[in-house]
Symmetry: C2
Subunit: 403 residues, 2 copies
């Protein structure tokens, strides 16, 4: 059978049901799994009285994050968007700068750039990782940008292009080595939007270790959740200290005096949320095993189906398969909404990729390179249920590996 | 005995110990009290799986807040700073505007103005409420500002003065009627920074109902806590809808599509934190009773002490006595640090008022009126332990009113 055949929405629904056959009712796109010490830690946190800006869980959570990712430092914050805003600020992004980001991303990536008073500048994607196409970006910058006193400058707008934000789409690592090369060539600071890629590795190194700074997210739909939360990762001690300072109202340490030395933020993760996060991080291994097992089931189920492809990790990466994705053949792209309709009507939650940032009204006038691949992907991607729970073997309802 | 006598730091410590005699160890400035259904609601929230941006507790918490304050609408957000930022945005504050705020406030008030790209403009305090002096402000504006096409404009800077942020210091309501009058006269939008005044009433109306928009905080040191959290209060339905929209990434409702129509924020309170908040709000009555009882004990204990005054609510208000305050006579102001030293060394946590915003390095060039009273208060205020728990009658260790 060929990739170039008409798919049937009801067939897709039926195949999904086969993989998800354990489920009698509706199946969410991604829900958290609280099978560990969540209640123990949260209860302990409540009993301690320290639920807010004081308490030991934040430090523990940061340490566990650093250990798991291999980054030297992690600063826990209220959410992934705030984490990215702080990354950009520490990367030196200033009002009036431009920041290269993928057009195919969640709106938070672009918003965080705007919070710094900077302008998002949209880059195209490539098919292997769904991340920014490094080679195409290099060609584009050759024509569009020039180094002026060592600062990458947009020839058309005259604005400095300060940083490149790489986003690891659905958890799949982008081509970090090639992208780093572009950054070196053009004096751009690399920032990783690793909101989706906790547990994903680029050539055996955890994502988030390639950027000068990286942002994680622990929103309710992520591989682990703190309710709401995020973190700044860095291997640079000075950056870490400044991240902690900026996210805690930039208050100078003193026994009682309220001295603040710059405009700071109230972005520290509350201790209550960190308590939940500590319990969640302890389950990363089973979560990753189950999510990869689920992806493998999807892969097999769609292997022989013409006109549709289950997206698998790039050859250089080991992915967390945060959000599983089907990619329709170009011929079948017009059926995307019918498939979304039929699957959702059948109680299987699916969704398309994000509307490209370049199409949103508030970013319509932002600079962009040719976005042919991203535009094409936007019409063809369908995300399907991906909770860790769904990857458990059928015959062990209590969990193959419950802690 | 007279107000004009030398106080002794060790005497102050001894008096505080008398009031706090139940306490054997150290006494915090303000700690939360979890004596209600905190466990039940938080456990239920975990069990539901909805800890993040979906779930019923956020809506419940917002409804309880609206009921308690008498405001028509409440939008729960991640913290008080974010709440104030959203209030200012909805009040129409734009980049390049000025916003009048008290010099005597927590840094979040000034930071929130800066997040909008606007400039804080500092106002002086008065002794009765510790809030902005309305009459002095009116005199100042008469000289400094003029209405240009209905827009209050700073004559020196040429910038529009868009709004006035009133902060209810330590929970004590500012002179809202007089301040509203100034706002009407100069076309300023009134915004209440009610972070400290949940449970405080101005002439029997809850604070937060006078501004076009108001910000609450549920940080760990507030009268009720959600770990970290805040809320926007308003009586204007359109403002409420826009507050919800802006704080949830400005996403348009759709079954699956990701359309966002403006630069929004990821500021929604997580469901886990709202669950805690629901349990906390149920205890407002005993919390207020205890805090007022504690304040009364302090008042009596310091009544006959020369050179120092226990700050009591203004005659027009009923205060939550969020943070109790001693005010040293001018003569005794130089002893402030010795008193802070002795009390803290003795395990009784005390602190001075905030460093005036006008003295912080990042605000040094911001416009300001004469700040004589605020400068004077800054040197004379000492905050003393204020937890609700401390206001329980001595002979009922289980609580006079535990739910």
């Amino acid at each position: 059978m060929s990739y170039h055949s008409k798919v049937s929405p009801t067939d897709i629904t039926a195949i999904l049901k086969t993989v998800l056959h354990k489920e009698t009712d509706s199946v969410s796109l991604h829900e958290p799994c609280f099978a560990g010490r969540e209640w123990d830690y949260v209860k302990d946190c409540l009993d301690s009285g320290y639920v807010s800006s004081v308490g030991a869980y934040v430090g523990k959570f940061e340490q566990k994050l650093a250990e798991f990712t291999g980054a030297k430092y992690a600063a826990a914050v209220v959410n992934g968007t705030s984490a990215l805003q702080i990354c950009l600020k520490l990367a030196g992004v200033q009002a009036g700068d431009e920041v290269l980001i993928p057009a195919l991303t969640f709106v938070a990536t672009a918003n965080a750039v705007c919070y710094c008073g900077a302008v998002p500048h949209f880059a195209d994607s490539e098919m292997e990782s769904l991340g920014i196409d490094a080679e195409k970006l290099a060609d584009y910058l050759k024509q569009t940008a020039e180094l002026k006193n060592g600062v990458c400058t947009n020839r058309s707008t005259g604005r400095p292009i300060r940083a490149l934000v790489v986003m690891h789409t659905f958890g799949h690592p982008a081509r970090l080595d090639l992208l780093l090369q572009v950054c070196r060539q053009y004096g751009l600071v690399l920032v990783e939007d690793a909101a989706e890629s906790l547990g994903s590795y680029y050539q055996n190194i955890h994502t988030g270790n390639f950027g000068k700074l990286s942002a994680l997210s622990f929103n309710g739909n992520k591989i682990v959740t703190t309710g709401g939360g995020g973190a700044v990762l860095t291997n640079d001690e000075a950056m870490y200290r400044e991240a902690k300072h900026l996210t805690t109202t930039a208050k100078l340490p003193h026994r009682w005096a309220f001295w603040h030395d710059e405009i700071g933020y109230n972005y520290r993760m509350p201790n209550l949320n960190a308590a939940l996060g500590c319990a969640q991080l302890e389950q990363m291994e089973p979560f990753l095993r189950r999510k990869r097992a689920l992806a493998e089931q999807y892969r097999k189920a769609f292997e022989a189906v013409p006109g549709i492809q289950f997206f698998t990790e790039p050859p250089y990466a080991r992915s967390n398969y945060w959000l599983n994705a089907l990619i329709l053949s170009e011929e079948n792209a017009p059926l995307r909404d019918a498939i979304l309709e039929d699957t959702n009507d059948s109680g299987i939650q699916t969704r398309p990729a994000w509307v490209l940032m370049s199409r949103l009204p508030m970013f319509r006038n932002c600079p962009r390179m040719d976005l042919t691949v991203a535009q094409n992907l936007e019409k063809r991607i369908i995300n399907i249920p991906s909770s860790a729970r769904l990857g458990m073997p059928y015959d062990t309802p209590g969990g193959d590996d419950a802690t």
